[in-house]
């Protein structure tokens, strides 16, 4: 069980949305993490490497910033099976770049832009994720 956290989740979500809006205002780019991270790898097609690298540095530094400012421990529970989590990582990395977006690029930014392509992509990854969890927890595990 995890606790239902409507207020924290809404506020956190709004911060994510605000970051996406400010990135568009600043340099006109979509805040899609798979796009930003995927383009840090060669071959390079434009000159935005340093900007993308900066965004990822901020992303990685976030829990440290929270720990330093609040001193609170961050609750987290990551699946412990290493082969399973590595397979999950491969699928997430390949699928998000192959489909040109993940939860942020298609989900947050694409839905906000009312992109049909992103609506389809979001519906597909939500569906396969729900089915996967159902199979793992209630068919195989149950």
């Amino acid at each position: 069980m995890t606790e239902f956290t409507p207020f924290a989740s809404l506020v956190g979500g709004m911060m994510i949305g605000l970051s996406a809006v400010l990135l568009m205002l600043w340099e006109g780019r979509i805040a899609g993490i798979s796009g930003i991270a995927g383009r840090l790898l060669p071959p390079y097609r434009d000159s935005a490497f340093l900007s993308r690298f900066g965004f990822i540095v901020g992303l990685v530094a976030a829990p440290l910033a929270i720990a330093v400012t609040t001193g609170e421990a961050i609750q987290q529970s990551v699946p412990s099976s290493i082969p399973l989590i590595m397979a999950a990582g491969l699928l997430v990395g390949f699928g998000s770049v192959w489909g040109n977006g993940c939860t942020s690029g298609h989900g947050v930014c694409g839905l906000s832009r009312l992109s049909t392509r992103s609506f389809v992509a979001t519906a597909v990854f939500m569906a396969t994720a729900f089915v996967t969890v159902f199979l793992v927890r209630h068919v195989i595990g149950g």
Binding site: M15, G17, S19, A87, L91, F125
Partner: protein, 143 residues
């Protein structure tokens, strides 16, 4: 300059991920487990983010161009092709197995869980594979 602005924006994004609970795979997997220990929190993360971005994008895109750079880089493809079905389908399976999508996985790196330390290199490998495959297919088509 742009580097530091991006660090600040990445930080805002990452703090949002942590506060919202997205950086905790247990919370993500419970959100996806509608018929079990369902935790609807993440619907509010998505709702809050889309609400702000929906309004914010409309305000920002009334400008001719962003603060730096010549123009807005908005995706122009609108086809529903095989890639926009297959990619998300594969991504969703991985998300359902691990409870991590790309942003939260990177943010969770600093928390140092062994699962995260195994997930992120595999994810980067997968991303690179998809990019190289896309590039090689584009070259074949150009020939």
């Amino acid at each position: 300059m742009s580097f530091f602005v991006n660090v600040a924006l990445g930080l805002l994004f990452g703090v949002g991920l942590v506060i919202s609970g997205m950086a905790d795979p247990a919370k993500v997997l419970n959100f996806l487990d509608v018929f079990g220990t369902w935790d609807p929190s993440l619907a509010l993360v998505m709702g809050g983010a889309v609400f702000v971005a929906f309004i914010g994008y409309r305000l920002v895109l009334t400008r001719d161009k962003p603060i730096i750079g010549g123009s807005f880089y908005l995706p122009t493809t609108s086809d529903i092709d095989a890639r926009v079905i297959a990619g998300p389908a594969i991504f969703g399976i991985g998300w359902g197995l691990g409870g991590f999508c790309p942003g939260p996985a990177l943010t969770a790196l600093g928390l140092g869980a062994s699962g995260t330390l195994a997930f992120v290199p595999a994810m980067i490998l997968g991303m690179w594979g998809a990019r190289l495959l896309a590039e090689s297919r584009a070259q074949v088509r150009a020939v």
